[in-house]
């Protein structure tokens, strides 16, 4: 079978779901962030795959680049915040950070 667009998309879909699963189920904040990275990478696979099969559309690549840049920035901020949480709570279990509710 010829490898086509759909194959990549399926990989992306699985990766996306895995990422979400990680976000939902992991306690550790950094694990949640890792899940998030999977999600973003899934999106990137889409971009690149669509770009490739949409007539080598460079826009997809640009988009992927921006996603990577922003992921980096976001990761930096998120980690800083997680560190701050660690300072305040002495742990980084997201499900235990639930004082604000209701």
């Amino acid at each position: 079978m010829e490898i086509g667009l759909t194959h990549y998309l399926v990989i992306s879909a699985i990766l996306f779901s895995l990422g979400l699963y990680g976000i939902i189920t992991r306690k550790h904040a950094i694990m949640v962030l890792m899940g998030l990275e999977l999600v973003l990478n899934a999106a990137n696979i889409n971009f690149i795959a669509f770009a490739r099969y949409g007539g080598m559309n460079i826009e997809g690549h640009i988009a992927a680049i921006f996603v990577i840049i922003l992921a980096a920035a976001e990761a930096a901020i998120a980690l800083a915040i997680v560190l701050n949480i660690y300072q305040n709570f002495r742990h980084v279990n997201v499900d235990e950070v639930d004082n604000l509710k209701g």
Partner: protein, 724 residues
């Protein structure tokens, strides 16, 4: 006096008592004792004017049906509310009745109410009452009638509850007012039907409309209904079965009030109303009226037999006599019915004032003896008053005779006419209608019996208590009214012939009005011989200030032997005149005789009778077995009926009234609960449900970020599949 003056003077007569009311209510406290004098004086002036007006009307303008005016009270653009005042012959007579009795009661009260804390207020209320009552008298339209009807009700309420510290008094006032309102509702519905149909409140317009054949809702039955509705007003005010229950309770009011309102005037208003609008009643409505009147007359007569409270006896007697009047009007005896109203007013007022006199004396005696527990109104505490209170006794005796229908009294004339009328009616209509004269005669007999029982027990014999022994005759202001009223009960005032009133001025002046009801819905025997023209005349004259009715004299002149009477009924009444007279004399006589036998001469022991009735087998051992048995079947039988009817009245009729009041209040309670829990509950439920939803939705906000993510993803999925 010219005709133009009649109405302004009538208006003055109407307003003068209001002045009394205003003076006494606003300045009463300053006036103090003088307020009685002021009130009496004002009423005296009023009486003078009333006499002048009435004489003018009757003597100079007797042939003019009604002197009246009409003016716009207020308007709603095209729809004008026209009202007016009018004096016809019955109004003229009523003016005198009301003002004279009111004047006498004012006078009487100066002594009787002496020392009451709210003496000025009493006079104020009397003034208000007189004003309202006069308003009813001179109204020539339903609206004014209703207006003053209500005002009479409220002043009656105030007067019955005058001693409001007593719970029974304020309860009685309330009961009277509310019971009256039930009748008033009917009255009001009747008015609405008529206004709706004929577009006017004026009697003449309504009658003209009816005689032109226009029917409410285009249905002749509705005219009957309207008539009965109007009559319901009369049932309330005139204490007709089953709305009569308030009247005995109303005796809680001061006795002069009972004399004025609950004997002579206000309770007669119902009769007056029926007389005023007599022309609009259909045959069915009249039958209804007659039946109600008969039932009332009979039932209350039987009840009066056993009462021991002085005023209660008189109260039931009043109800009974009102029944007579209503009955008379119902059978078509217009003139006699109204005649009885007038004669009854005098002697019943006299009876009540005499009762007042007795009670006043008893009170004084009790006061003298420092006794505060004995019931001063219980006839068994009296006895022998004949000696201590001679004037009271004499007048009382005389008016008792009048009430019993003994010749030479006015009561004889009027009652005899009524009884003859019932017989004529039964004869003309036949069938079960014969029950009406039978019951009427029985009631008449009982009237004589219980009145004499009262007289004998209270006045004759020995003093039954020490108190009775210490009673003294009252002062002049109390005695004088009694004498005047007793005097008024002489036959001579109404007819030169002591056994036939039909030749008197009264019967000449008070002529049965022509029925406005089309012939198809009216008793044929009530229709006058000549028909249409007079009606048209009325219709044409609708705008003018006065209406000429058909003149009886002209008819007499034009007609021949039978034409002497206006209609078949009167002719028939005349036929029965002597038979009825004979019968009634017989029955009244035996009633009196029985009373004397039992209470005066103790030929028959009342106590024993009662005991034996209760324990029949001990009766059988008695040596006067046959004798007594014979006697007791009549008397005890009557007693049984009386007792049971009394019971019936107390527990069933009154009970029904009370029950309906409980039911109403209970319903009010249920509605209250319903309102609190269902309607308001629904509102609160909506609010609580909203809050509940909020509190549940709030649970979604767990505080855990991951659950939020789950919700977001779920949300997207649900939205996706929802909108697909």
């Amino acid at each position: 006096m010219t005709q133009d003056l009649v109405l302004p003077l009538s208006l003055l007569i109407l307003l003068i008592p209001l002045l009394s009311f205003l003076i006494n209510i606003f300045f009463g406290n300053k006036l103090g004792r003088i307020s009685g004098v002021v009130g009496t004086t004002i009423l005296g002036i009023d009486l003078g004017l009333a006499i002048a007006v009435a004489f003018t009307k009757l003597s100079s303008f007797g042939e003019i049906h009604v002197i009246q005016n009409r003016f716009e009270w207020f308007s709603l653009g095209s729809q004008k509310i026209i009202v007016g005042i009018g004096i016809d012959n019955i109004a003229a007579i009523m003016l005198i009745v009301v003002t004279l009795i009111s004047f006498l009661v004012h006078l009487f009260s100066t002594v009787y109410m002496e020392g009451d804390r709210r003496y000025p207020k009493f006079y104020a209320y009397l003034g208000l009452f007189t004003f309202s009552m006069l308003g009813i008298v001179i109204a020539n339209n339903f609206l004014f009638m209703y207006v003053f009807w209500e005002l009479v009700g409220i002043s009656s309420y105030l007067l019955i509850g005058f001693w409001y510290e007593k719970n029974s008094a304020s309860n009685a006032g309330k009961k009277a007012f509310i019971t009256n309102r039930i009748g008033d509702l009917g009255f009001f519905i009747g008015i609405m039907i008529l206004f709706f149909t004929y577009g006017s409140f004026m009697f003449e317009d309504v009658f003209a409309g009816i005689s032109s054949g226009v029917m409410p809702f285009s249905n002749p039955t509705m005219l009957t209904v309207a008539g009965i509705c109007i009559f319901m007003g009369a049932m309330g005010k005139s204490a007709q079965f089953p709305l009569h229950v308030w009247l005995p309770d109303a005796m809680e009011g001061p006795t002069p009030v009972s004399a004025l309102i609950h004997a002579a005037t206000m309770v007669a208003a119902g009769v007056y109303l029926v007389a005023k609008v007599f022309a609009m009643f259909t045959a069915d409505a009249l039958t209804f009226i007659a039946v109600i009147g008969t039932i009332t007359a009979f039932i209350s007569a039987t009840i009066a037999l056993t009462q021991v409270d002085f005023k209660k006896v008189l109260a039931y007697s009043t109800v009974s006599q009102l029944g007579f009047m209503i009955m008379s009007l119902g059978v078509g005896g217009y003139t006699n019915g109204f005649f009885h109203l007038v004669t009854h007013a005098w002697f019943k007022a006299a009876l009540f004032l005499a009762a007042g006199s007795v009670i006043h004396a008893m009170h004084h005696a009790m006061h003298h003896m420092h006794d505060h527990h004995t019931d001063p109104q219980d006839i068994n505490n009296m006895g022998g008053l004949r000696k201590t209170m001679p004037w009271t006794y004499r007048t009382f005796l005389f008016v008792t005779l009048a009430l019993s229908g003994i010749p030479l009294t006015s009561g004889f004339l009027s009652k005899d006419g009524i009884l003859a009328g019932t017989m004529a009616y039964a004869n003309l209509t036949g069938g079960w209608h014969w029950i009406i004269p039978i019951l009427a005669f029985t009631a008449a007999g009982m009237t004589a019996f219980y009145m004499f029982r009262l007289t004998i027990v209270a006045f004759h014999g020995e003093h039954k208590t020490e108190i009775a022994k210490h009673t003294k005759e009252n002062k002049l202001p109390i005695v004088l009214p009694l004498v005047i009223l007793a005097f008024m009960s002489l036959w001579i005032f109404y007819s030169p012939n002591p056994i036939d009133a039909s030749k008197g001025w009264f019967h000449r002046m008070i002529v049965q009005p022509k029925s406005a009801v089309p012939a198809a819905y009216q008793w044929s025997f009530l229709l006058t011989e000549e028909a249409a023209p007079a009606v048209h005349q009325t219709g044409e004259a609708a705008g003018s200030t006065e209406v000429k009715a058909e003149n009886p004299h002209e008819v007499t002149a034009a007609g021949h032997t039978t034409g002497h009477y206006l209609n078949k009924f009167q002719e028939e009444t005349h036929h029965f005149h002597y038979l009825a007279m004979l019968l009634s004399l017989l029955i009244a006589g035996s009633g009196i005789a029985l009373a004397f036998a039992i209470y005066q001469y103790k030929v028959i022991s009342a106590d024993k009778l009662e005991t034996r009735f209760k324990f029949l087998h001990t009766f059988s051992l008695n040596k006067w077995y046959f004798d007594e048995l014979y006697q007791s079947t009549v008397i005890a039988g009557t007693l049984v009926v009386s007792k049971s009817l009394s019971w019936f009245d107390n527990y069933v009729v009154d009970g029904l009234v009370n029950l309906s009041s409980y039911v109403t209040r209970g319903f009010g309670y249920v509605v209250g609960i319903f309102d609190n829990y269902v309607i308001d509950g629904a509102v609160n439920l909506a609010a609580n449900f909203t809050g509940f939803c909020g509190s549940k939705l709030r649970k979604l906000q767990t505080g855990q970020i991951q659950s939020y993510v789950v919700f977001v993803l779920l949300g997207i999925l649900i939205l996706l599949y929802f909108f697909i």
